[in-house]
């Protein structure tokens, strides 16, 4: 029943995220023929700076369907929206239940705080896994409609990378939710952390191959067919550490 309670609290955030990501994935697939038609019109920019380089790179990648899907979808939408919704799912919980009521009622139940946090984390991670895998599955399902195919292995790898790195932002939001009593500060701080990381990537492209977002969009898998093991491991460890810190915070907290 604790899972049900978490579901009631987070279902709208989850469903909105799912709808946005599914529509975005489907839209990217269905837009492929139009993008292909427009591709010859992309001018050859030799001196367009970073923006020109990116446009040229996207045009280059779009010459293959796999490259198009990666550059137009995996590289952008799940990374941005995945980060946002991972943080959104992680906010709330025991401290901020005062918004919807029930903090003292929950604490009066014969359940340890560790179990309360475990139920919340478990339910949130399940929702995050759905957000990571289900929109991706739309791609192989809809690809035949535009005369293309997309490998399930790619879907699974991207899903795993999205999920594991999404867990970092989810865990950060959970940890911040054990510190702040409202839903906004944890959300804003988790998103701000994502924004800073993205800014570092932008300002220092050389380092971006080692960045969290590079792991999240599985760039290494796309370009070299190798899984970003080190990045995934670091993400798992960081998430575990933040969840452990959240559990310690919960255990110490006076309500």
């Amino acid at each position: 029943m604790l899972w049900h309670r978490v579901w009631l609290e987070t279902r709208w955030r989850f469903l909105i995220g799912l709808i946005i990501l599914v529509c975005s994935a489907g839209g990217s697939v269905l837009a492929y023929p139009k993008v292909m038609a427009l591709l010859p019109l992309v001018p050859s920019m030799q001196d367009g700076g970073e923006l020109g380089r990116r446009i040229q790179e996207a045009a280059q990648l779009a010459r293959s369907y796999r490259g198009y899907i990666w550059s137009q979808w995996y590289r952008q939408m799940p990374v941005q929206m995945g980060t946002l919704f991972a943080a959104l799912l992680g906010t709330g919980g025991l401290l901020s239940q005062s918004i919807g009521g029930g903090t003292l009622f929950t604490l009066s139940l014969p359940v340890s705080r560790a179990r309360l946090l475990a139920a919340r984390t478990g339910a949130g991670l399940a929702e995050l896994a759905v957000l990571a895998f289900v929109p991706s599955l739309m791609i192989p399902l809809l690809s035949p409609a535009v005369g293309q195919s997309y490998g399930i292995a790619d879907v699974l790898v991207h899903g795993v990378c999205l999920f594991v790195v999404g867990c970092v932002f989810y865990s950060l939001a959970i940890l911040l939710s054990t510190v702040f009593g409202d839903v906004w500060r944890p959300l804003l701080l988790a998103c701000a952390a994502g924004f800073v990381l993205a800014l570092v990537d932008l300002l220092s492209p050389a380092r971006s191959t080692f960045s969290l977002f590079s792991v999240m969009n599985a760039e290494r898998w796309f370009r070299a067919g190798q899984l970003p093991w080190a990045g995934l491991l670091v993400s798992v460890l960081a998430s575990a550490a933040m969840l452990q810190a959240a559990a310690v915070n919960y255990a110490r907290k006076d309500f």
Partner: protein, 304 residues
Amino acid sequence: MATDAPVIQTIDLRKTYADVEAVRGLNLRVPASSIYGFLGKNGAGKTTTIKMLLGMVRPSSGEARVFDLPADGADTGVAIRQRTAFVGEDKDLYDGMTVEEMTRFTASFYPKWRRDLEERYLRAFDLPPHRRVKALSRGMRTKLALLLALCRGADLLVLDEPTSGLDPAMTEEVLQALVTHVSRAEATVFFSSHQIAEVEQIADHVAIVDRGRALVSGALDDLRERYRRIQLVFDGDAPQPAFRSPGVERVRRNGRVLSVLSSAGADGLVDEARALNPVSIDVVSVTLKEIFLDTVAGENAVED
């Protein structure tokens, strides 16, 4: 009716928030099967004490034990809450759930959940099963919180200001439901209140707390038996005596009248008072309200 083994015991319990001492060395002993009124002004430390008993707040020092288990342990806290029902002052429930969902949710945590009582109270309290908690009136919300507490099959009911914000009719209904339930279920009730009348109405034991300390505690009948007011009237201005008899709680001087509140009967004090040559000596019994007001206003104080 009450047995010797305490259901709740606190020993020199303290809780400090930053520089505020909410509870200052509280000693309580709540007998089994009693209805224990925890009486105090707003801010006396009642809610903090209750939260410590339920493991929601960790004591700064001292000890809180419920069913002889430490209240601040993670595992023992769960064991305590398995046998305890709680109604918070704000009737803090899940606003997004319906009455029926709230009931099913709560029932899932209690193997001894009383389905028969649930049906009875749903009818008696006239609670609409499909209405959301946030749409319930204050009174309905209190009734739902009470239903969720009473149906758990709990050995201990901990109620924090259960009637706060209710009109007199609703207050009476809630108190009657409580008394009826306890008389049938052999449970212990520990309830906080700043309403002296309701404590006097249903409690058989009471503790009066002020600024985090218990000033008076014991069986209500025993308190009524022990507490006496001795009124001395003099020809001229009343003297400022230093009584040696035990149990002098408060001495108040008002012109020719000296009023002494004693917590140890009146016999010794009357003998001592006669030596002051008053015109008259009256010994009167005191109400809980008088005990409360006098003890909270100050211990052993001599007032002009």
